[in-house]
């Protein structure tokens, strides 16, 4: 993590713009676009910081990318930065969704829309997979973190256990094992 004394402040407008861009590009989930903007384009976070904040966001209730937005906004601009991030992240989709609501009430669900949606969903799922691959490159080359990657994947992805129980079961163990770890 960046040292606390680091004076790198980012303007609220820059935060608003960055999270607007994430939000408006996010089709089929925001996580891929959040990493692309925050790590690759703006370079505000390293891959490792990104996955750490995202994990923290996962542990808290609510959409994890929204929680990430709040924490990134707060880190670089205090609570006003957090508010600017949220405004960019949720403001635009609300307007788009209102427009969709009107269209839905007029036309219902068109078959073309459904088919286009099916094609886009495949690409969106593949984007999520590339994100997982890119982020796992930031993990230390030891067997222990990879064991947790494997366990979380098998429990939720293969055995389809409820996410909440898997997180509740694995998290305390993962944190406990790391209590004395330092880089």
């Amino acid at each position: 993590m960046r040292p606390n004394s680091d004076p790198s402040r980012i303007s609220r407008f820059a935060l608003f713009l960055a999270f607007s861009r994430i939000s408006l590009s996010s089709f089929g989930g925001a996580m891929f676009w959040a990493r692309r903007e925050l790590v690759e384009r703006q370079r505000w976070l390293t891959d490792r910081e990104f996955v750490e904040l995202l994990s923290l966001g996962q542990l808290l209730p609510g959409p994890n990318v929204l929680n990430l937005t709040v924490m990134v906004g707060y880190r670089f601009g205090g609570w006003k930065g957090a508010a600017a991030g949220i405004a960019g992240f949720l403001g635009w989709p609300c307007l788009v969704v209102a427009g969709m609501g009107v269209l839905y009430q007029q036309y219902g669900a068109l078959p073309e829309v459904q088919r286009a949606l099916a094609g886009m969903s495949i690409v969106a799922a593949a984007l999520l997979l590339t994100n997982a691959i890119k982020l796992s490159a930031a993990l230390p080359r030891r067997w222990q973190p990879w064991l947790f990657v494997l366990l979380a994947f098998v429990f939720v992805g293969v055995l389809r256990w409820p996410l909440i129980w898997v997180v509740a079961g694995l998290s305390p163990w993962a944190v406990w094992i790391n209590r004395k770890e330092s880089d």
């Binding site: 089709f27 989930g29 996962q58 969704v97 669900a109 495949i122 939720v156 996410l163 993962a174 944190v175």
Partner: protein, 175 residues
């Protein structure tokens, strides 16, 4: 919906968001039960169609609640379902973010960040797998999947083009 219905909806959504650990899709069954079975303010078909439609909207997956709210009662409905998302984010998350920034080197903060990162990555692989199995019907879908992964990892192509290509492939009936 009158003002009392909207108030009840707001409170119900608020309670759901506080237990939505693991993301917005974990509370779909809770919202469905409330709107379709308990309050009977929309049909099952409406619920499913609106949920699917919201996946095409930009923004976080959670925006399906905004669309449900809009469908029920316009802007007021949208406010009743969407504002509750913000409440845990602005209380618990701000507090956690604050503690994390204030004491970044506290052993517990280090342990939480180090320990949870692999769990998060494993869950991401799991979500990708579940989604891919749900959307791919045959080898052509998996071909598109592999192509997407390859292009994103190897080329710096803007993935919006890939999404557009996916939409066209879907309309053409290729996947």
């Amino acid at each position: 919906m009158d003002r009392r219905d909207l108030g009840a909806l707001f409170l119900h959504m608020l309670a759901l968001w506080f237990v939505a650990i693991g993301g917005p899709s974990t509370i779909v069954p809770g919202i469905h039960r409330y709107l379709v079975e308990v309050r009977r303010v929309m049909t099952n078909a409406e619920f499913v169609e609106l949920y699917t439609l919201a996946q095409v909207a930009p923004g976080p997956n959670a925006m399906y609640v905004a669309l449900l709210g809009w469908h029920l009662a316009g802007w007021a409905g949208m406010a009743a379902t969407t504002i509750p998302i913000l409440v845990p984010a602005l209380t618990l998350t701000l507090l956690a973010g604050h503690l994390n920034e204030r004491y970044p080197n506290a052993p517990i903060a280090l342990a939480i960040r180090r320990g949870l990162a692999p769990v998060t990555i494993g869950l991401m692989f799991a979500s990708a797998t579940v989604l891919l199995r749900g959307v791919n019907h045959d080898w052509r879908g998996y071909l598109l999947t592999l192509l997407t992964v390859f292009l994103v990892l190897r080329k710096s192509l803007n993935p919006l083009w890939l999404l557009a290509a996916g939409a066209l492939a879907g309309i053409a009936g290729l996947v």
